[in-house]
Amino acid sequence: MEAIVAEHLKKTYRNGVQAVKGVSFYVKQGEIFGLLGPNGAGKSTTVRILATLTKPDSGKALVAGHDVVLEPQRVRSKIGYVAQSSGVDKYATGRENLMLQGHLQRVPKSQLKHRVNELLEWVGLSEAADRLVQTYSGGMKRRLDIAMGLVHNPSVLFLDEPTTGLDPETRSALWQDLLRLKREQNISVLLTTHYLDEADYLCDRLAIVDHGVVVAEGSPSDLKAGIRGDRVTLEVDGHVDEANERLKLLPQVIDVIVTDDALVARVENGATAIPAIITALEGSGISVRSVALSRPSLDDVYLYHAGHRFIAEGSLEDVA
């Protein structure tokens, strides 16, 4: 039985925004699955649907074997949800937060105290446990968030943008914690992120979400392998459309994608293609400012499937 099955989920908000337009994917038991996409792609909404916080307009979803619409209470007892904005109570201590969460998640009283101590230890908050959360740093709050999501040993954990806003060191530590979690317990994790490196590093499989639909799905290596060839990125002085046409005529070039400041050509072998490309362009009177060569990355996967460059933190620039 899969940990999560989502089928044709659709959701339009009351203000008219079509956040999710038909999302389908599945998550296997014990794997870390990523939902990757830029801001506004529909990732958070999808997670909210799966965590029973909001109802889909149509479609079906099974989480830990239960339907999110028909049996929400059952789903809630088996999931942990860590929101993008911290959900901890600032005016309580770390321990109090965990204890309350444990009570609400129906953790048996006899086990709760021990479990809370265990978790505090695991996330490294044992010393700060009896201080008000108000005094915690961002990283500490995030770790407490995750501990709260785990207090009842859920079979599925939802992490909505868990490392957004954290400094590199804390991010890295959190990645290690997640991998450790996966190794030590058979928990399935659904992680949403707009960081390519995070998706690449952590996820066993991922789905790329753009404008409310899934545009690609698979393991990071499979997705990258699916993009044959090297990527040659060129910056030219004007005449971008002309350059586009000219490149397409070359035999080595598989296809070309135009972004607002560069042309990205996929070729079989970058090293031999570059001289040919430059000669062809210069020969047509188009001056080449710079050229770069790289092996496929998730950015290329994204570019290929969604047709525009993935810019991690800012807004997305859409080019036809």
């Binding site: 029973t52 993008q84 959900g87």
Partner: protein, 273 residues
């Protein structure tokens, strides 16, 4: 049912702890009634000399009015807490657990009632120091607390319901400011019913705030001990004005049910990034 009780209890502890850790809010809500009692109590103290007023001491007359007024305003602001939780992501976190939805509302309502209880006692003390006396004794004070608590519970439930529907602080503030003072003045909190224009008196008959004020004043005075009504309801001892208590309970229950229902259908709002 057991889950509902446990959840309510645990959540209530959370609210109480929060209040204890940010006492400034309680302090601020106490300053207002103390000002009303001393300032207006003194300013208008000769109004009792108007023929037909029905009381010999304005401070005596005013104290229960101010207690109830404080119950009203204090509990009306209850919705602000839920809006804060909505904005902080705390509500989402709680809703993703199997917590009883009714408990989420009930804990807040109980918290309002308990807070109002303490505020009421302090105001009674201040009133006493300013010269008010309470012939109704302990039972009178008890009835006052019950009435204040019931009013506070109902308004708290209503406030939480409005907060859930509108999700905006500004709307809640506007509603409270719009209705608060009119509701107070359309009651006998400050002015004897005998001296009101008849249209105000008629409106006051339908005003839950007035039910509470009237009942509270009678209870504190030890008047109207209607044993006849007493047996009909939960509160078995000799209370004043059972009819008023009855009214309060009737307006309270639908408000709690409505707010719980709203929470049940609450959908996470569009994420604002």
């Amino acid at each position: 049912m057991k889950n509902f009780m446990n959840d309510t209890f645990r959540l209530l502890i959370r609210h109480v702890m929060t209040t204890l850790r940010i006492p400034i809010w309680i302090f601020v809500t106490l300053v207002q009634p103390i000002v009303w009692l001393t300032l207006y109590g003194q300013l208008f103290r000769r109004v009792v000399e108007l023929p037909g007023f029905g009381s010999s001491s304005y401070i005596q007359f005013l104290t229960p009015g101010v207690v109830i007024m404080t119950s009203m305003f204090g509990s009306a602001w209850a919705g602000m807490g839920i809006i804060q939780d909505l904005n902080d992501g705390v509500m989402d976190r709680l809703l993703a657990t199997p917590v009883s939805r009714g408990a989420l509302i009930t804990a807040r309502v109980l918290h309002s009632a308990i807070t109002v209880l303490f505020q009421g006692m302090i105001i009674l003390l201040v009133g006493f120091l300013l010269g008010a006396r309470f012939p109704g004794g302990f039972l009178g004070v008890l009835a006052l607390i019950v009435l204040g608590g019931l009013l506070a519970s109902g308004l708290s439930a209503l406030s939480n319901g409005i907060a859930l529907l509108t999700k905006r602080e500004e709307t809640l503030i506007a509603v409270i400011n719009f209705f608060g003072l009119p509701l107070t003045f359309l009651s006998t909190a400050f002015m004897s019913a005998a001296l009101m224009p008849s249209w105000i008196r008629n409106i006051a008959k339908l005003n839950p705030v007035n039910w509470a004020v009237d009942g509270a004043r009678d209870a504190l005075m030890g008047a109207n001990w209607d044993g006849v009504w007493g047996r009909a309801l939960l509160f078995a001892c000799l209370f004043a004005d059972m009819w008023n208590i009855c009214h309060e309970i009737i307006q309270l229950i639908p408000q709690i049910i409505m707010s719980s229902a709203i929470l049940d259908t609450y959908q996470s709002p569009f994420p604002s990034k």
